[in-house]
């Protein structure tokens, strides 16, 4: 499986949940805390992100930056993954 991750601007997010519904992996969820503006923010709750950029495309605040394993897939040892 292609490995990816997202970085969400917690102070920019307004908690509209559009990214959560757009995620095919159901990796995103809404936080239990609030940010400085008083909004609950989206966060990565599962480690199965594939970097499909669906969440970032629909994010109204452009708060999401997506990272993905480069092509061709680089072979990593377990030590590298955990490290």
């Amino acid at each position: 499986m292609i490995r990816g991750t997202v970085i969400i601007g917690l102070e920019v997010c307004k908690g509209c949940e559009l990214c959560i519904s757009a995620c095919p992996q159901e990796s995103l969820g809404l936080s239990t805390h609030i940010n400085l503006n008083g909004y609950k923010y989206a966060e990565l709750i599962k480690d199965n992100c594939t970097g499909c950029i669906n969440c970032a495309i629909i994010c109204p605040e452009s708060a999401i930056t997506v990272y993905r394993q480069p092509k061709p897939a680089r072979k990593t040892t377990p030590a590298e993954v955990t490290g």
Binding site: T5, I7, E17, G51, P60, Y67, P70
Partner: protein
């Protein structure tokens, strides 16, 4: 930087376009305006035309569009964005000019300017955000409000016998010979968003051809005005807006 440690062996595949400023958006959570702003600026960044693009901001919720779009912007009087864009394009025909208007701006007070701009075949891109309501002033009924839709000035639903039918201005201007590319897109899900971005790209590319006006209607949402959550508005668009405002290209000239 904590974030860079986590992702050091991954490559960045999507980030906020550099043509959007870092100003926090004043729009409500889940508003379609922010999504469309982002796509316009992504297209500007991809085409490398940040220095040669001039936008015209409307009156409405998107009145502060010039704070967010890092290109040359001009604020227009209510409804007159397409007239201002006409002037800019005629003085500087080498620039990419677009107007960004809502439905109260383009389809209500600015109907005359809109129709005559398209009828003259001005070589500009017009982006029309249709959320069927006057969002900025508190959710009043607009010309584009659906039949039977409850707003703050039509609490029993829009009565078409008394007030008239939803104005399909996109179909109206598609009949004019000056219109070169007329399309209706939406932001209701990720696929629609990708199609919308392609349409905006075509609209900017058309300005190089000098064939006529490109017009993109975006069927959008208004969570505050419709009194729904952002997710509910997306389903509401599909169930109620699409029967009146079907998506797709309305006019593609060869």
């Amino acid at each position: 930087m904590e974030s860079e440690l986590v992702i050091e062996d991954l490559e960045c595949v999507y980030k906020k376009p550099s043509t959007l400023t870092d100003t926090p958006l004043h729009y409500c959570p889940g508003c379609g305006h922010s999504i469309v702003h982002k796509f316009i600026m992504e297209v500007v960044e991809e085409m490398g035309i940040q220095e040669t693009t001039i936008g015209v901001a409307p009156v409405g919720c998107s009145v502060f569009a010039y704070n967010y779009m890092n290109v040359d912007m001009q604020e227009a009087a209510h409804g007159r964005a397409s007239a201002v864009a006409t002037g800019i394009k005629r003085v500087r025909p080498d620039k990419f000019v677009y107007s960004y208007q809502g439905d109260g701006d383009l389809a209500a007070i600015g109907t005359a300017e809109t129709i005559h701009t398209v009828n003259r075949g001005e070589n500009i891109l017009m982006i029309f955000i249709n959320n069927a309501i006057y969002g900025m002033t508190g959710g009043q009924m607009a010309p584009t409000t659906l039949a039977g839709q409850v707003t703050s000035t039509s609490p029993y639903g829009r009565d078409v016998k008394q007030i008239g039918y939803p104005l399909k201005i996109t179909e109206m201007i598609a009949m004019l010979p000056g219109a070169y590319y007329v399309t209706r897109q939406s932001i209701n899900n990720v696929n629609s968003c990708r199609k919308l971005k392609k349409a905006i790209r075509i609209g900017f590319e058309n300005q190089k051809l000098d064939k006529g006006t490109s017009f993109i209607e975006v069927v959008s949402n208004c969570p505050s005005g419709w009194k729904q959550t952002p997710l509910e508005t997306m389903t509401w668009i599909e169930e109620n807006m699409f029967p009146t405002y079907p998506l797709g290209d309305i006019k593609v000239s060869k």
